[in-house]
C-alpha cells in the first residue's frame, strides 16, 4: 500500500480517459460504479479545456458485482450505438470489473456484429501503472485502430505527448504551431490528443513528421514510423539553445535547408533576456530552485533550469524560486505554476508559452519578476 500526504499519482485508467477526452467527437462508456465517472467529468474541468467528448457510465450494483453480470454493459453499448450514433465507442472497465475478472474484450467482441460503430476496448486497470502508461497505451491503440494507411504525404506535422493534463498545453501548442509554420511552412495534422477529432487522427498518416513532446507519445511515434514511414523528433524545447537544436534536428529529419531563426531580431532579444537572467542568477546568494514534479518528471524543464545556472533545492522552503502545481503556486509569491492540479483559475489565454523561443521569453520574464 502506498501512503501519500500530497496528491496520489493519477492512475493508468485516468490517463486513458484524459487521452480519449482530447478527441472531441469520441464517445466513452465506463463499466463500473458511477461515482468515478462523475468525479472524472468534474476533474477534467480543472484542465481548462472545453471538453466535448461524451462520457457515459453503466453504474454497477451489488448483484452485478457478485454475479459478474454483464447485462448493463451490453445494453449500454447497444443503446449508445442507437441513440448517439458515434463513429467509435471506447469501452472501459473499472477497478471492480478488473478484480472480479470480467472479460470485457470478449463481451465487446460478441457485440461487433450488432452495432454500427467501431468498438475499441481501452486497457484494463491493473493497479500498477500510472497515468503516463495509460496515455501511452491509449495513443498506441489510436494509432493501431484509427489511423488509416495512406500513400499521401502533405506538409503537415503531428504532435504526440502533449495532452489535456499538461498544464500549459494551449500556449505551448500555439508556439509549436507558430515555429513549424514560420520555419518549415508546415501546419498541424493532428495532436495525440488535444482538441482533435477522429477524422484528424484517421489522417495522421498523411503528415511528414511527428513531434514527440512527452515520453507518453514515444511508443506511438515508433509505431507511426514503422507503419507509415513517418520520422519523429523527441524532446520539448525549453530555452533558446534547446529550441535552436530542436529546429535543426527537425530540418535534418525533414531533409530541409534550415537557415536559422527567421525572426533574428526577436531571437536576439530573447537571447539577451536569457543572458541577463543567467547573470542575475550567477550573482544570487541563494541559487536554489525547487521543481515539484507533481504529475510526473519534467526532464526538459529541469535541463533548462540547470542550463540557466540554478542549483537544486531538496525542499521548497530552501528555494529562491519554485516551479510548482496550482495548489502551491496559489499561496507562494516565488512560485511559477508548471503542473496540475489547479484551482479553478481561468486559463483561456493561449499566448503564454513555456516552450520555444517565445516560451523562453515568457519564462525568463516570470523568473526575473520572482527573483
Amino acid at each position: 500500500m502506498k501512503f501519500y500526504r500530497d496528491y496520489p499519482k493519477p492512475s493508468d485508467r485516468m490517463g486513458c480517459l484524459w487521452a480519449v477526452n482530447g478527441i472531441q467527437d469520441a464517445c466513452i462508456l465506463e463499466f463500473g460504479p458511477a461515482g468515478t465517472t462523475h468525479f472524472s467529468i468534474e476533474g477534467l474541468m480543472q484542465f481548462g479545456e472545453d471538453i466535448q467528448t461524451k462520457t457515459f457510465t453503466t453504474h454497477m450494483d451489488e448483484t452485478d458485482v457478485t454475479f459478474g453480470n454483464e447485462e448493463r454493459l451490453v445494453e449500454g453499448i447497444l443503446e449508445i450505438d442507437q441513440v448517439e450514433k458515434p463513429k467509435v465507442l471506447f469501452v472501459m472497465g473499472s477497478s471492480l470489473t478488473s478484480i472480479i475478472g470480467m472479460d470485457i474484450e470478449s463481451i465487446v467482441k460478441s457485440l461487433e456484429d450488432q452495432v454500427n460503430c467501431q468498438l475499441i476496448v481501452l486497457p484494463n486497470c491493473d493497479f500498477r501503472k500510472d497515468f503516463r502508461q495509460g496515455i501511452q497505451e491509449t495513443l498506441q491503440i489510436l494509432v493501431k485502430e484509427i489511423v488509416v494507411p495512406t500513400e499521401i504525404k502533405r506538409p503537415r506535422f503531428n504532435i504526440l505527448g502533449l495532452g489535456l493534463h499538461d498544464f500549459n498545453h494551449p500556449s505551448d501548442l500555439k508556439e509549436i504551431q507558430r515555429l513549424m509554420q514560420l520555419h518549415f511552412g508546415m501546419v498541424l495534422g493532428t495532436t495525440f490528443t488535444l482538441n482533435t477529432s477522429l477524422e484528424a487522427i484517421e489522417k495522421a498518416g498523411e503528415s511528414q513528421v511527428n513531434l514527440v513532446l512527452g515520453e507518453e507519445g514515444l511508443l506511438a511515434a515508433e509505431m507511426l514510423e514503422k507503419d507509415f514511414g513517418q520520422p519523429f523528433v523527441y524532446g520539448k524545447p525549453y530555452g533558446v539553445e534547446q529550441t535552436d537544436k530542436w529546429l535543426k534536428e527537425l530540418a535534418q529529419v525533414l531533409g530541409l535547408d534550415y537557415q536559422g531563426d527567421k525572426e533574428a531580431s526577436e531571437h536576439q532579444r530573447i537571447r539577451m533576456e536569457e543572458k541577463m537572467l543567467m547573470r542575475q542568477i550567477k550573482n544570487l546568494k541563494n541559487k536554489k530552485v525547487y521543481l515539484h514534479e507533481g504529475f510526473g518528471p519534467l526532464p526538459a524543464l529541469k535541463h533548462y533550469l540547470d542550463y540557466l545556472g540554478f542549483q537544486w533545492a531538496e525542499t521548497a522552503d530552501q528555494a529562491v524560486l519554485r516551479f510548482d502545481n496550482g495548489v502551491e503556486a496559489r499561496g507562494h509569491l516565488n512560485a511559477i505554476q508548471v503542473s496540475h492540479p489547479s484551482f479553478n483559475q481561468k486559463k483561456a489565454y493561449p499566448y503564454t508559452p513555456m516552450v520555444g523561443y517565445r516560451g523562453a521569453y515568457y519564462l525568463c520574464q516570470e523568473m526575473y519578476n520572482r527573483l
Binding site: K2, F3, S11, R13, A34, H38, I51, T58, L96, I99
Partner: protein, 487 residues
C-alpha cells in the same frame, strides 16, 4: 423511452426505479464525495482514504478545492499484492505513522469500493488499534456498488462524529442544531426565536466545529435535527449520551413546522403562539398567490435540497401536476409522501436521478411548465420551461424555508441566481442590449428579460454580440454543460 420507466404506483422497492437509459450521464456522485465533504467541515479532523489511485486522487482533490489548499486528507493506495493478500499490516503501519508524525486528535478512515470488494475488515482492524493509539479512530464505508449516492456517505460520516464526543453534564436551556451545513445559522428564524427565549444554540454540527468543540456536544439538553442525514447522529447521541432530539427536517409541511415550534415552546417553557400566528399569516399570503399562479402547471422534479417526494407533494398542494420525479434512491421515510401524492390521484413517472441526457429528449413530449433543479438554462429555455433552483432554501429553517421556496417559484429563480450579483447599471445595459438583438428568438428574449438577475458571465457574452449577430454560438457553449453545476 418512458415505456421502460415505472410510474409511482409501480414503485415498491428501490430496484423498481429505473434509469431512463442504460448509459447514464453524468451519473450520481458516490458516497466518498459525501464523506470527504462532511469530514472537511470539522477543521482538525484528519481523513485517510483507502482505495485505488483514482478514488484517493479524487477524494484528495475535492477536499483540497473545498478547503482552498489546506485539506487534511491522506491517501493509502492499494497495490496488486494488497488486493490479492489483503492490507492489514500495512494499514496498521500507516496509522501508526500518522499518529507518530502528526499527532492528530482523530482520524476518519474512509474505505472505498475495492476495500469492500476484497473483504478487508477495516472496522475490526481499527477497533483492535483503539488501545494502541491515542487518536480517536472513525470508520466510514463508501462502497458505491452497494448504495445509491453521496447521501449515504454524508449520513455515515455524520453518524461517526459521535465517537468524538465525551459524556458531559447537561446544561439547561442549551441545544445543538444538527445537519445545518451553511454559514449564517444566526440569521435563521429558529436561532432567533431560541435566542430571544434565552435558549443557547451551543453548536451547529457539522458547520464550523472542531474536535474539541464536538467533545463537549453532549452538554446540550436537546438536539434539533434540521436535515435528514443527521438523524442517525442524533439517534447515536440519544443512545450514548441520553440527549433527546426533535426532527425539525424541512419537509415543507406547515402543520409539522407549527407542531415542532410548539414542542420547543413546551420543552423550554416559552410562548410561541404569537410567533406562529404571525409567521403563518405571512406565509398564507404567499401560498395563496402561488396557488393562483401555479394551478394546473406540470413539472419535472430534478434535484433540490429536499426529499423528492415531499417536495413534489408540496408543489401539488399548490395545484401543480407532477410529470416526472427523479429519485436518487428510495428510502423507507419516502413512503408517507409517496402515498400522499398517490392519494391526490397523481401517478407520475419516477426515474433515477442524475441522468440528464435522455431526460432532455422528453421535454418536447411532456411539455412541463417548470423544471425544479440543476439543468442547463439554455436547454430549458429552448423548450419554454421555467427553471427553479432552491439550493439557497436549505439555509432557512421552519416557516421561512417554506416562504423561501414559494418566493423562488414566484420569482422564477433559476440556476443563474446561485451566481454572484451584478451591478444594476450593468443589468440595465444587458437588458437594453437584449431588446436590440434582432436575431434573438422572441421567447428567449422574454425569458431572459424575465430573469430577476442576468448573470455577469452571460451578460458579458450578450454585450459582446453585435445587434444583428446570432446568439447560437453562445448557446452552444451553455449546451455543452458549462452551466450544469453539480448534480
Amino acid at each position: 423511452m418512458l415505456e421502460k420507466a415505472n410510474r409511482l404506483s409501480e414503485i415498491q422497492t428501490d430496484k423498481d426505479i429505473k434509469s431512463l437509459s442504460k448509459a447514464q450521464f453524468p451519473g450520481p456522485h458516490c458516497p466518498l464525495f459525501g464523506a470527504v465533504m462532511t469530514a472537511s467541515y470539522v477543521e482538525d479532523l484528519r481523513v485517510l482514504v483507502i482505495g485505488t489511485e483514482e478514488c484517493t486522487y479524487y477524494g484528495k482533490d475535492f477536499a483540497m478545492m473545498r478547503r482552498e489548499g489546506k485539506d487534511n486528507v491522506y491517501s493509502a493506495v492499494l497495490e496488486q499484492q494488497d488486493i490479492t493478500f489483503g492490507c492489514e499490516e500495512e494499514l496498521r503501519a500507516i496509522i501508526r505513522k500518522i499518529e507518530a508524525e502528526d499527532h492528530p486528535k482523530a482520524l476518519m478512515v474512509v474505505t472505498t469500493c475495492v476495500v469492500e470488494l476484497i473483504g478487508e475488515d477495516v472496522y475490526s482492524i481499527l477497533h483492535s488499534m483503539r488501545e494502541e493509539v491515542s487518536m480517536k479512530l472513525l470508520v466510514v464505508k463508501t462502497e458505491h456498488f452497494k448504495c445509491g449516492s453521496h447521501i449515504e456517505g454524508i449520513e455515515r460520516s455524520l453518524e461517526q462524529l459521535y465517537l468524538l464526543m465525551e459524556a458531559q453534564s447537561q446544561k439547561e436551556r442549551k441545544v445543538n442544531i444538527l445537519g445545518f451545513k451553511y454559514e449564517g445559522i444566526e440569521e435563521t428564524e429558529l436561532y432567533q426565536l431560541l435566542t430571544q427565549a434565552g435558549v443557547e444554540v451551543a453548536m451547529t454540527i457539522p458547520t464550523k466545529v472542531s474536535i474539541a468543540a464536538l467533545e463537549k456536544a453532549p452538554s446540550s439538553q436537546l438536539n434539533i435535527v434540521v436535515e435528514p442525514t443527521a438523524l442517525k447522529l442524533a439517534q447515536k447521541m440519544e443512545e450514548s449520551f441520553d440527549i433527546p432530539y426533535i426532527n425539525f427536517c424541512g419537509d415543507l409541511n406547515v402543520e409539522k413546522v407549527e407542531a415542532n415550534y410548539r414542542y420547543l415552546g413546551d420543552y423550554f417553557d416559552f410562548p410561541v403562539e404569537a410567533f406562529i400566528q404571525a409567521k403563518k399569516k405571512q406565509l398564507d399570503k404567499a401560498l395563496a398567490e402561488a396557488k393562483e399562479k401555479l394551478a394546473g402547471k406540470g413539472f419535472i422534479y430534478g434535484n433540490t435540497p429536499f426529499d423528492c417526494f415531499e417536495f413534489s407533494y408540496f408543489l401539488m398542494t399548490l395545484g401543480m401536476e407532477p410529470l416526472v420525479i427523479q429519485c436518487r434512491e428510495l428510502r423507507e421515510q419516502n413512503r408517507a409522501a409517496m402515498a400522499a401524492i398517490f392519494e391526490q390521484k397523481a401517478n407520475p413517472f419516477v426515474v433515477r436521478m442524475a441522468n440528464i441526457a435522455p431526460l432532455r429528449r422528453l421535454y418536447s413530449q411532456l411539455k412541463p411548465a417548470y423544471y425544479f433543479g440543476h439543468e442547463s438554462p439554455m436547454v430549458l429555455s429552448e423548450h419554454g420551461i421555467i427553471q427553479v433552483v432552491t439550493d439557497k432554501c436549505a439555509k432557512k429553517i421552519g416557516f421561512e424555508q417554506i416562504g423561501e421556496v414559494v418566493e423562488s417559484i414566484l420569482e422564477e429563480k433559476g440556476i443563474m441566481n446561485l451566481m454572484g450579483s451584478a451591478k444594476l447599471d450593468q443589468q440595465a445595459a444587458i437588458r437594453d442590449k437584449i431588446q436590440r438583438l434582432t436575431k434573438m428568438p422572441g421567447p428567449m428574449k422574454k425569458l431572459l428579460l424575465n430573469m430577476k438577475e442576468i448573470p455577469e458571465q452571460m451578460g458579458d457574452a450578450i454585450l459582446a454580440l453585435k445587434d444583428d449577430e446570432s446568439i447560437m454560438s453562445m448557446m452552444k457553449m451553455h449546451k455543452n454543460g458549462q452551466s450544469m453545476g453539480r448534480m
